[in-house]
Symmetry: none
């Protein structure tokens, strides 16, 4: 969901970008030639391709064209030699945006964030059959709306926003009930139980809300 493929022949610059974007929670793969970029793209895919135009061998425009022949994944063209013709060239080939080298790294991030927001941020959290609409404050399971209480909603939101990560019971309790809550720790597990009954096919064998013994819970 946050996979970026960087196509850049300057290894140092590529590493720098990778580190920077990873710090911003993106998942980054790097390719140093057009050929390798295409191979990597076809094998692993990506949600955004950041594409340098000047590459040894197959140039960026060719890569752009080949990717567009496959699908509609957004492409951000990066280049030192963007003239009007190049911009037009890229636009005609289906690139989504441009940035000129040398660029401000924050501007690059802004453009990347913008592309992700426009293309992928629907205001919804989707995990398989479970859809959480944050704006509407609605939960759908298999397309059916399911009523959840305020506490259940907060718990599920926390778990889904941190899917794959195990959250400790203390952390969950503090975030949902507040640090000053005097409630008993069972309260949390009872709410987990209600949630499981609402979102799991079989609440006895949960597929999504996993128990991590002695630690807490993890959404998968």
């Amino acid at each position: 969901m946050t996979d970026i493929l960087i196509v850049e022949d300057n290894q140092e610059l590529a590493e720098l970008l990778k580190d920077f974007l990873e710090a911003e929670q993106y998942t980054v793969k790097v390719a140093d030639t057009g050929e390798r970029a295409l191979a990597l793209y076809l094998e692993k895919g990506a949600k955004l391709v950041v594409l340098d135009i000047m590459l040894p061998g197959m140039d960026g425009f060719a890569v752009c064209q080949k990717i567009r022949a496959t699908d509609n994944t957004p492409i951000l063209i990066v280049s030192a030699k963007i003239g009007k013709e190049d911009k037009l060239n890229g636009l005609l080939l289906g690139a989504d945006d441009y940035i000129e080298k040398p660029y401000d790294i924050d501007l690059l991030l802004a453009k990347i964030n913008g592309i992700f927001r426009r293309r992928y941020d629907t205001g919804q959290l989707v995990e398989g059959e479970i859809i959480l609409d944050k704006q509407a404050h609605q939960l759908f399971v298999h397309g059916q709306e399911v009523d959840v209480t305020a506490k259940e909603w907060e718990l599920l939101l926390l778990l889904m926003e941190n899917k794959g990560k195990t959250l400790s019971k203390e952390m969950l309790f503090h975030k949902v009930w507040g640090f000053d809550s005097f409630s008993e720790p069972q309260t949390l597990t009872v709410h987990i139980k209600w949630l499981r009954q609402k979102i799991e096919a079989d609440a006895k064998a949960p597929e999504h809300i996993k128990t991590i013994w002695g630690v807490g819970y993890r959404f998968e």
Copy 2:
């Protein structure tokens, strides 16, 4: 109400624009020649025509002229070769705005939003049988005028302007009664009740103003 006709001979670019604008809640039709654009326009109409000047066969200016001969639908001219003469040309033919290729997609969106706001924002909010006329300060349900009090009006306006989003009771209360209000929180729910009696077919089973337990209300 949000129909856009894009006239663009580059199919890839046209598809890209279509996807982008559809993500922004517009309804998009595409034509790749001037002749097809006119035929589509005369058959289905549109609220805005985004018109590339450089087209094979009948060029953009000719399309512009023919559309203007029919009605006053706004036209946004897009072209790489906008010189002073072209701008003047387009203006004389009745185009509403221009954008030069290659353009920033956000700028295009801003211009489109601007045209729609200027041309079509009638100051009315319409949701099925409910019409809120902001200028006249009147509410109609099933074509019948319904009197609402000042507080009810503000409440309904807030809800309808944010339809689909759940608004918290605190937010509603603050916006309608002001941050410094000392009133009891029930006051809000009582007003919601009056509103429901005025706009809902069955106030006991509201179709429009939904209660989100422990959170607030949502207009649908």
